[in-house]
């Protein structure tokens, strides 16, 4: 490694907070983020918006992946906010080898990198591919399904902010019903994104019978790191779907990202679970259940549901039913024997 690309040691001032992991707890149980030796795969100076969940989620995930791979990691990136804000003219935030090719081909490019590493006798080098929800659930879906089906040795990370943020907040197939985006305006008698659309990529990934699928959230650092670490030690195609709120696209305060992400989980709208070879093996139990309404209300993309004096109780109730269905399906309250 040349001087220029050597990892920077993190300057670190934080102690005893919940954000990066409490240093007062047992060493082995501390988060990767709380370690002075975290690789800081995305270093400071990138151009994400304040409070960007994706910037945080990507750093959490890649630092954990770097530790698991003992620094032997290559990342492939689909086009999207992460790609744009980490490589601002004329700089880069990446401290790991990183390749951006196109919007719709990251899984296939990663397959190619992994194949070359194998042929070159460099199988210690692990490959992650990453993209936003648009790059993953929409335009890159064909390549992703191919990567899954061939069980290629790649960990795919999807940063889900429920829309095409880089191009100015348009609908993707991960945009929730009623959310306002630039292509689902809050107009007419069914304002925002419509019900009965969208796809659940973690479940689709499971249907490929790949060895590991998980969902994670920036609000649950330890859980996220654990899942990435576990995935990194499994050969074959792996998929982690990470919920990363976007203050700009969601219309939330930039200091509310973690709070909002946590409510997405605690309301049941975004269930956290793991699956192996197509079967759910574990789900994270909700500790303090919150009504979906509490999650929706602070987000401007749902503002039309909460117009003064005419709350859209019908649609809010329908969203609540979606959360209830998740709670039932993934046993999020632990009412049944696991999982």
């Amino acid at each position: 490694m040349t001087e220029e690309t050597a990892l920077q040691r993190v300057k670190f001032y934080q102690t005893g907070t919940h954000t990066v992991g409490n240093r007062l707890i047992d060493k082995g149980a501390r988060s990767v983020q709380s370690s002075m030796d975290r690789s800081n795969a995305i270093t400071s100076g990138h151009r994400a918006c304040q409070g960007c969940g994706e910037a945080l989620g990507a750093r959490y995930a890649l630092d954990a992946a770097m530790r698991a791979a003992e620094g032997q990691l290559v990342a492939v990136n689909a086009t999207g906010c992460l790609e744009v804000f980490t490589t601002p003219y004329p700089e880069t935030s990446w401290q790991i080898p990183w390749l951006h090719s196109l919007f719709g081909n990251a899984p296939a490019v990663a397959t190619g990198v992994a194949a070359a590493m194998r042929r070159k006798g460099r199988s210690e080098v692990k490959v992650v591919a990453q993209g936003g929800d648009g790059g993953t659930t929409d335009i890159g879906f064909g390549c992703l399904s191919g990567m899954f089906e061939r069980n290629d040795d790649v960990l795919y990370l999807c940063y889900d902010n429920e829309g095409y943020m880089n191009t100015g907040v348009q609908r993707s197939s991960a945009t929730p019903p009623t959310a306002r985006t630039a292509t689902t305006p809050a107009l007419g008698d069914a304002p925002g994104n419509v019900f009965g659309t969208g796809k659940n990529l973690p479940l689709i990934a499971m249907a490929h019978n790949i060895p590991y699928v998980a969902t994670a959230s920036v609000a649950y650092l330890h859980d996220l790191e654990d899942k990435v670490t576990k995935a990194m030690h499994i050969p074959g195609a792996r998929y982690i779907h990470i919920m990363v709120p976007c203050p700009l696209g969601w219309g939330t305060a930039s200091d509310a990202t973690i709070h909002i992400a946590r409510m997405a989980v605690e309301s049941g709208l975004f269930p956290l679970f793991e699956a192996e070879h197509g079967e759910v093996t574990r789900s994270n139990k909700i500790r303090r259940r919150v009504p979906v309404k509490d999650y929706l209300a602070p987000q401007r993309r749902f503002a039309h549901l909460f117009k003064k004096g005419q709350e859209d109780t019908t649609r809010i109730a329908r969203l609540q039913r979606m959360a209830d269905a998740n709670i039932e399906r993934f046993n999020l309250l632990g009412e049944r024997e696991s999982p």
Binding site: T79, E83, Y89, P90, E91, T92, H100, S101, L102, F103, G104, T137, D138, I139, F141, Y164, T167, G168, Q170, R171, S173, A182, T183, T184, P185, L187, G188, P191
Partner: protein, 418 residues
């Protein structure tokens, strides 16, 4: 009605007034405001009887459009840059099937290196796919060309691409005359397809064609473009009758009478070129310009006639054929194949590099003196290029070019500051 309005939104309003029945949307800068605008009009109920479909990729966008058009619906979509490459297979297919889809291109460069700014590489990448390609010089013309495009597409049964410069037009707020529904209805008859999927009269569309007929089918594609050469000016004339303004046509000559040096270009840069022409004419220089509106079909005869008296032809183009030079320039040379006039290629405005009056003037003055090289890159930073060539020669593992150039520019800028 006269409005001070963003180019994209004006186009969206015009599209809506053309009563499309299926619109497919996929975001890509700088085209996105247009489909967002159409989407809002559908959602608010202003545009009735229209399916607005948020698809999962450009490939799907144009594929949905193909299906809709084949089933007899007036169909519209828009894209740019990487998007048109992602749909490339369908682009050829739509033309081969003769489906009258109208598509806007908000022209943008193609990566790598990824670049969201304006040039014409995207349109050029599919110039020979069989679509009609019209280039708008102003936002008014962009609006007008879309209206004409539906009529042209449906009369010929051929897809039409309307190219408008990304950002420079799509994101500019200007005074634009947005037509009324009555005007559009007077100009654009309802769509009456020449082929349609209908159980009442079953057709097979898209059959395999072998060597015995493929050449003939392709000939007819060429013939259709030649028909368009006739139809485009005709439609422009009808448009003028209804809307009382000139828009469209094959080419727009500007002060070419007696001009010895003539600049030729596509799209919005023609506005700046006209300013330069005026300034130089005021000083007595014999210069003029031609804005090409119809790039496909390419107006060979009209160009030949208009350039007949020129001594120097300067093609200013926002695209590059690496290893050859100019794309537009090669086409212009084809028009001048019987004349011994030098045709200079000036590659300009790539990836959003501003094309300034000062630089254009320098080019035209040099051309008038016969002092232009065959191919010139406007405002090229020779220093940066040479540094990189030297550097790459020196080290085998020299790394990615784009990143190195940026690094060297950064270093030069810092050094320059001191």
């Amino acid at each position: 009605m006269l409005k001070q309005i963003e180019g994209s939104i004006a186009v969206a309003e015009a599209i809506a007034l053309c009563r499309p029945e299926v619109v497919c949307a996929y975001p890509i800068t700088p085209q996105t405001h247009i489909v967002e605008g159409v989407g809002a009009l559908v959602k608010s109920g202003a545009l009735e009887n229209c399916e607005f479909i948020n698809v999962e990729s450009e490939f799907a966008a144009l594929s949905v459009a193909i299906g809709a058009s084949a089933a007899g619906a007036r169909t519209y979509t828009a894209t740019a840059s990487q998007g048109i490459l992602f749909m490339a297979e369908a682009v050829y297919n739509a033309a081969g099937l003769g489906l009258p889809i109208v598509m806007t291109i908000g022209n943008r460069a193609i990566g790598a290196p990824i670049n969201i700014w304006n040039d014409h590489t995207d349109a050029m990448s599919v110039k020979d796919a069989g679509w009609i390609q019209l280039f708008a010089e102003t936002n008014q013309e962009a609006v007008d060309l879309h209206i004409q495009a539906f009529r042209l597409a449906e009369e010929l049964s051929s897809p039409v691409m309307v190219c408008m410069d990304g950002f420079i037009l799509t994101h500019a707020y200007e005074r634009i005359d947005v037509p009324t529904q009555e005007e559009i209805d007077a100009f654009l008859p309802p769509y009456d397809p020449v082929q349609v999927l209908d159980p009442v009269e079953p057709y097979s569309i898209g059959a395999m064609v072998g060597p015995e007929a493929f050449t003939e089918v392709r000939y007819l594609a060429h013939e259709k473009q030649l028909q368009a050469l006739r139809l485009i000016p005709e439609i422009g004339a009808v448009f003028k009758d209804v809307f009382d303004r000139e828009s469209g046509g094959l080419i727009h000559p500007y002060r070419t009478e007696g001009a010895e040096t003539i600049a030729v270009a596509l799209g919005s840069v023609n506005g700046t070129i006209k300013e330069v022409v005026d300034a130089m004419r005021d000083e007595g220089a014999a210069v003029g310009s031609i804005s090409i509106c119809s790039f496909r079909p390419f107006p060979l005869d009209e160009l030949e006639a208009t350039l007949a008296g020129a001594k120097h032809v300067v093609v200013i183009e926002k695209s590059l054929a690496p290893g050859l030079g100019g794309i537009l320039a090669s086409n212009v040379r084809m028009a001048l194949r019987e004349m011994a006039v030098p045709v200079y290629t000036v590659i300009a405005g790539l990836g959003g590099r501003p094309i300034t009056m000062a630089s254009l003037r320098g080019i035209l003055e040099a051309a008038a003196k016969g002092r232009l090289p065959d191919v010139q890159f406007l405002d090229l930073d020779h220093g940066a290029v040479e540094r990189e060539i030297l550097r790459a020669r020196g080290i085998r593992r020299s790394g990615p070019t784009a990143e190195n150039i940026l690094k060297s520019l950064g270093a030069a800028a810092v050094a320059g500051d001191e």
